[in-house]
Chain length 333, copies 2
Amino acid sequence: MSTSSREIQLAARPHGEPKPSDFRLVAVELPDPGDGELLVRNTYMSVDPYMRGRMNDVKSYTPPFKLDEVMDGGAVGEVVLSNAEGFAVGDVVLHQLGWREHAVQPAAHVRKVVAGDLPESAFLGVLGMPGLTAYAGLLDVAGMQDGDIVFVSGAAGAVGSLAGQIAKLRGNTVIGSAGSDEKVRHLVDDLGFDEAFNYKAGPVGRQLAAAAPKGIDVYFDNVGGDHLEAAIGVANRNGRFALCGAISGYNHTAPAPGPRNMMQIVGKRLTLRGFIVTDHFGRLADLHAEIGPAVRAGQIAFRETVADGLPNAPQAFVDLLRGANVGKMVVKL
Amino acid sequence: MSTSSREIQLAARPHGEPKPSDFRLVAVELPDPGDGELLVRNTYMSVDPYMRGRMNDVKSYTPPFKLDEVMDGGAVGEVVLSNAEGFAVGDVVLHQLGWREHAVQPAAHVRKVVAGDLPESAFLGVLGMPGLTAYAGLLDVAGMQDGDIVFVSGAAGAVGSLAGQIAKLRGNTVIGSAGSDEKVRHLVDDLGFDEAFNYKAGPVGRQLAAAAPKGIDVYFDNVGGDHLEAAIGVANRNGRFALCGAISGYNHTAPAPGPRNMMQIVGKRLTLRGFIVTDHFGRLADLHAEIGPAVRAGQIAFRETVADGLPNAPQAFVDLLRGANVGKMVVKL
């Protein structure tokens, strides 16, 4: 017996923004799970900005996708066949074989989760990688302390919206930037940000200075580029920056110049620290312990933009890179 | 009674590189020291790159020099009149009233030093601010550990030559850059650097990659600009950068763009931290305890470029900004 499935393969390496022809939807037959393996039917898959880097053939912190092979990434699904001890049909599992409808894999590669009254997709968002990125970035990388003024760029995105809310939950002042007036209203009205601005409506430096008259102590950077320069410009002495990504540059074909005010890093004694969430998995239990209850109590809002069906996953990914999502972008399979 | 002295005043704020007409040599009469004050005859004064920033009328970590007033900076001198308890004629003191031949000041503003068999100028160099900058930058800011490969830019300068030697004293591998073939030979032959290159002889990125085939773990940055970009490019995972200054940009009239490879800070989990030596005075005793004996034993070489006489101090300062010095640039008064 085998299982019919479909998967998305990388058909071509994009130059700049990915096009539909860079992806290929392929029907495949999966073998039955072997000893210690599971057959999982994916219910949701994640599309994330870091995947754009994996479409290039360059060494990075995660290996590049291979041409003419299935792509991968975070996914949640239900066990439909189990050959592994401790796993039963119907179990909900989190794993890394997204971009496909079904997956056969060793049970050692998946993690069982209990969704309870939360949708399964929460484990791709607030209680998964984006939530952990926000949590570890603020607390461990930037060392956020009581009283810090926190600036979050790309604050309507999956990670940014959680970073801002976690900082608010801890009682900090939070300023956010986003790419539309609607998103800005969402940050202030729904997520409780103290200040927010539309970075497409004017120079980031001027808007941030107006939103942060007392400067900033912590910067959670999802954007890079002019946002990073603006944050250096308004940072207070001993400011700490957690550099999480630089979506502004992901589709660039030539490297963009860095901030023109790097010299201020010295005079202001700033610390800029890059990080990758995979180094911080040890904090997942703390995330669930501290943030889980707040999510269930409705103190942390998590919005999702949900695309429908595997064939729409490539477009969902392109939309994500264009900033069309509010909150976590996922694909329902 | 009064004391005749001479001092250098700021005559004009330079645009770009300072010119002789930006300085003015003035004869002055000093009052006798009051209660608790000393009259000090300066024997050496320091010229340092950070002084270029103080010639501009911009807020920074040290206040700007005032137009038509005497400049100041590190100096060492001998007490010639004491109205303060605990200070006798002939005592050697370190203080901040440089750019003048004599100074009257409260004893509370000076620190007595015992030169022993070292020249007094050592307290403007290896056992003073430059030494402390190197020591605290490596150990406290960059967190240098055993086995780290250390890159020092501007390595023939006052701070750089000490940073490299302290790293070697601790058993690390050290790579340096300098601005002439002569300086490069000095780094390798006299100071024990493992590798060194002339940054004017070719692209910094290519030269650094060749000198550091195993990458770098620590970067002590005195230069900024293309050096910083090159260091990001070859840095190993979890690399730590102590940003001490950016002499490459001090005379710029327009801000230069930053590194084009800032995105690598994320993937490589780099930490870039700016610092100012004045935050690290608490480490002066450790510097003297660890490095003092090494200096006396001849394990740490400190070269000086000595200009002669106060009238030559402005030219010594301009020469320093052009990189004409080897080791610490001082002016003998």
